[in-house]
Amino acid sequence: MKPMLDCDTVMRQLWAYLDQELTEDRMEAIREHLAVCARCFPQLEFERTFLEQLGKLRREHPNPQTLRTRLVAALAAEGFTAF
């Protein structure tokens, strides 16, 4: 049986874990640790909420069709022909 990761290691890699930027083995090891660790779990929730707030800053362009029309016209002046 593999030894459990310690809290320090988990805290160091918590963001990479939330971003899913770790190997599958490491993701799994951290998941196991978080499931049982009262110290790291609140930290996980804190970071997760923070990242969710950042994700909400995403804004769609309000008029994509107008922009596209303008763009195609500008490109046409460079020789581009849409079809």
Partner: protein, 199 residues
């Protein structure tokens, strides 16, 4: 006649690969300029440059990342912003520092501070005030949902650089938000059940 056919083929590939990325590029431009007319100018500049250098695009590589790189470079050029190099610490140490932010927030009764909907504007402002290099890492990874690797390709730096800039930026944002919450008098929830009052 062959030239005509080549030209048509070029335009067809440009339309398929590049123009189809327009929603992504527009969103990215908007997050860089934060202003719609400026974003439109930036998108146009990006696509004109892309069309002129279409021959240098390597088929099979990711067109979106290529366009983002052009967009980002055009943004710095148009807004005469200098890319300053900011010193970054080790990424994992930034993670640990964020753990310290959490425990101090928890201690002040602000453990759930990021769950508050009214922090949206404060967060946006804090992001806008970050140095460009930090802001773009957050914009690419946290707002636009790119992988570290994609972000590294767009910015043109090693993946480790993206990681340390991103983590530093996140920690700075957290610290600013906490300061904001305290200054704005946002009432903390009950502190950690009387821990501080123990003799």
């Amino acid at each position: 006649m062959a030239d005509q056919a080549d030209k048509r083929e070029k335009d067809r590939r440009f339309q398929e690969a590049a123009l189809s990325c327009l929603p992504d590029v527009a969103r990215f431009a908007l997050s860089l300029t934060r202003d719609e007319p400026d974003a439109d100018d930036l998108v146009q500049e990006t696509y004109l440059r892309a069309y002129r250098s279409w021959d240098t695009f390597e088929p099979g590589t990711e067109c979106r990342a290529w366009l983002f790189t052009i967009c980002r470079n055009a943004f710095y050029r148009m807004h005469k912003r200098e890319e300053r190099t900011v010193q970054c610490d080790d990424a994992e140490l930034e993670s640990l520092a964020a753990a310290a932010v959490h425990s101090s927030a928890e201690h002040a009764g602000f453990g759930d501070v990021f769950a508050r909907a009214d922090l949206h504007e404060a967060l946006e402002q804090a992001l806008n005030e970050l140095p460009d290099q930090f802001r773009e890492a957050v914009v690419l990874v946290d707002v636009q949902d790119h992988s570290y690797e994609d972000a590294a390709t767009v910015i043109g730096v090693p993946i480790g650089t993206v990681r340390s800039r991103l983590y530093r930026a996140r920690r700075l944002l957290q610290e600013r938000l906490l300061t904001y919450a305290k200054d704005a008098g946002i009432a903390p929830k009950e502190g950690p059940s009387g821990l501080e009052r123990n003799p």
